[in-house]
Symmetry: C2
Subunit: 447 residues, 2 copies
């Protein structure tokens, strides 16, 4: 084997240029490894990915796979001693099958580009992480990214039919299939999704596409406070309605939006609901009927322009917070019935710690994004992490999880055993060793 090894330094995409290495050091997590990676290699083909891995495996060199670098958990940060394998050059949409409603895409394809290509056939790629305009399919798969439409359409895993993977030693395998169903062998596809670059390098995927809905209806409601808004979300569930989107903003979000000159708040909490499909209008009427008794005011959009106006408040949330300082976007999930408890507990953590925390939540699936806002000049110090840690343990105490859709990366590793238990973490480490016996794939991350 070693006689056929190609030195990655001979590849056209190889660089040890200081600027290239510095650009590949960070992601959007706020975590700094303290040094630059030794080199960056922009893969020009799957064969080059295989060559890089075979060499890294033979030499014991850590490899950090990088897409758009938009991750929020530190999964793609890379320091001295490692090389960064950049997949953004693998950006071909290989196939769209309108008849079988799937797409085959390379890992570096931007998620929004795939969705746009699907739209030309009346289809859509359902997962819609907030980063979709910049993040890649490969990165979405690495973290099992979610988005706004998950409660109805599932997370990334639910849209991945199969994967093309390069193993740590450079061998290539295909997992899954192009059919909707299949149960031949263990679900390796599911194992790779969410594995954050630690089991193999996903270079391509067969992705399920779904019919674009014939209609979408939009409702916005304002409430006195988070308790009433959460009660409204619970009432929607209790009425057995299934919105495609149900987004909740707390008072801290609404205040920041107003301070930024955005839509004026009409209450202390905001809930945005969308329904879709042939029954969108009938279902939004049913939503209105259960929400209205709990709300201060309710608007249903009459047309797409009206829907955009209602969506503006939700969209204004993160930019308004980013104006105030550096943000740490957290990502916990709880059973939906504990949403109000979670938001209240997070507000109490904010008050105790003195760190401003605003919470946006995907109310339909119980996924909360508490956003820690640091005053200008403040670093991500231990006090900030302790505050984030309180948020994590709150989610676990309420029966939830450390991470709904962003992944464990570097930032949440120290809490992982609290959620999973020692036996499960130990099993997962053994699984990791099956795929990567030499420990070259994103060492120190995820599990």
């Amino acid at each position: 084997m070693t006689s056929t090894l190609i030195d990655p330094a001979t590849l056209p995409g190889w660089s040890t240029d200081p600027a290239a290495r510095a650009a590949a050091r960070l992601d959007r997590s706020g975590f700094d490894p303290g040094s630059d990676p030794d080199a960056v290699v922009v893969a020009g083909s799957v064969d080059e990915v295989a060559a890089v891995l075979a060499h890294a495996n033979a030499t014991g060199t850590p490899v950090v796979v990088r897409g758009a670098g938009s991750g929020l958990s530190g999964g793609a940060v890379a320091g001295a001693g490692s090389i960064v394998l950049d997949l953004t050059g693998l950006d071909r949409i290989v196939e769209i099958s309108p008849a079988d409603e799937y797409a085959v895409a390379e890992a570096g394809v931007i998620t929004a580009d795939l969705d746009a290509a699907a739209a030309a056939h009346g289809l859509r790629y359902a997962p819609d992480p907030a980063s979709l305009a910049i993040s890649t399919i490969g990165g979405n798969i690495a973290t099992n990214a979610g988005g706004l439409r998950c409660a109805k359409y599932g997370v990334t895993r639910d849209s991945v039919l199969g994967l093309d993977v390069v193993l740590a030693d450079g061998r290539r395998i295909a997992t899954g299939r192009r059919t909707v169903k299949g149960v031949a062998g263990y679900d390796l596809t599911g194992l790779f999704v969410g594995s954050e670059g630690t089991l193999g390098v996903v270079v391509g995927a067969t992705l399920r596409l779904r019919p674009a809905p014939v209609a979408t209806a939009t409702l916005a409601a304002w409430f006195d406070g988070i308790g009433a808004a959460a009660a409204a979300a619970a009432a929607i569930t209790a009425a057995r309605l299934q919105p495609s989107v149900a987004e909740l903003l707390d008072t801290a979000c609404l205040t920041a939006i107003a301070d930024a000159g955005g839509p004026a708040p009409r209450g202390g909490a905001f809930l945005l609901v969308q329904t879709d499909g042939f029954g969108a209008d009938a279902e939004i009427d049913a939503v209105r009927a259960v929400v209205e008794p709990l709300a201060g005011s309710v608007d249903v959009a009459a047309d797409p322009a009206g829907a955009e106006a209602l969506l503006a408040t939700r969209r204004a949330g993160l930019p308004a917070l980013e104006r105030l300082g550096r943000v740490l976007v957290e990502d916990v999930a709880v059973p939906r019935s504990r949403l109000a408890d979670a938001v209240d507990a997070i507000a109490a953590i904010s008050a105790r710690s003195g760190i401003r925390i605003a919470t946006m939540a995907h109310a339909g699936d119980g996924n909360l994004h508490p956003i820690l806002v640091l005053e200008p000049g403040r670093e991500l110090d231990e006090h900030v992490w302790a505050c984030a840690g309180e948020v994590f343990t709150t989610a676990l105490r309420l029966g939830g999880t450390l991470t709904g859709e962003h992944g464990v990366g570097l930032l949440k590793r120290r809490w992982l055993r609290d959620e999973l238990g020692d036996d499960v973490v130990d099993l997962q480490q053994q699984l990791r060793a099956v795929f990567d016996p030499r420990g070259v794939l994103n060492p120190g991350k995820a599990i």
Copy 2:
């Protein structure tokens, strides 16, 4: 450890009675291991499951887990040298959470019973394998069972949030979570689903429930032949409609139904379509519009009684075939666009082999059930398996899979490398060894 081992022969559920052993030897696959298992133990609790496994692991005794014995791939057959661990006594529905739309159930709960319990809250358990009145949740999880509603609502995996598992050495772990989203650690839940009793013993599950649809609409269409029916199914897809059910019967099925005194055929192929939700009626009208130009006749049910009348043809299929002789229910899947090719190829295999094959298909997801009907007195001989093998290789040639929803079990092992390739099978065997290093869990099955 050995000092604390409990001999399973001391458990109240233990039996070496010949009748009990004989009753645990077969499932519904038609495969006979040629001998009875050494013993059967009906577990009375999870602790007893753990005790059985710890002892089996220590002594190297093969354990075959059994639910209702309704499997069609031989995953639960058990011969001399093995003990059968029967989970049908673990039949408690532990919790239904209407607020969070999940259920916690033990492995031995009958699938239909869970669905009925959910219905009391306006919810349903979406996976609906044809065996749901007799099969168990644990068995459904072991094979990642499908059903009629998969194209819209997914397979069993898509409704499993978390699992309670006893490992081969008797340790207990919990996988997954009660939240809709979560990405902390590798997806062990997905790994256990479809693993056919080879990675651990699933003793309980947290299952996602979904709103029962407010309305369901039903359409039945008759066509000259399978080509037109498949074209109609393709037209439904091309119109970006999403039926909850789309079932196709071929001429051989319809002939058997008519011979059995069932509904008279009005063509050479039959397609049953259901839509559901707030837009069910509007969506069935859209289905009708695309199907009608291709069909000989189309009926849309006016009410539930009318829907039952249309469903009667589909329901009559398997019983009509079982009248004619012993049946071998196969289970392949192809990309939906290859449905007609697959049905045609299977008809040719039938003509060539002289073995009657009737095909029913879940047209919405490309899953076909070619049903081999053996004349009375005929055994499952090599000629029959060769014929089944031709069906499997046809599915692979068309870009499909050996098994859509029944599992590999014993019957399909010899074709598994053809689908997965050597590298993937080898990796899966290494994963298996992580969970079951002594090889006591259902040896010789699945991978």
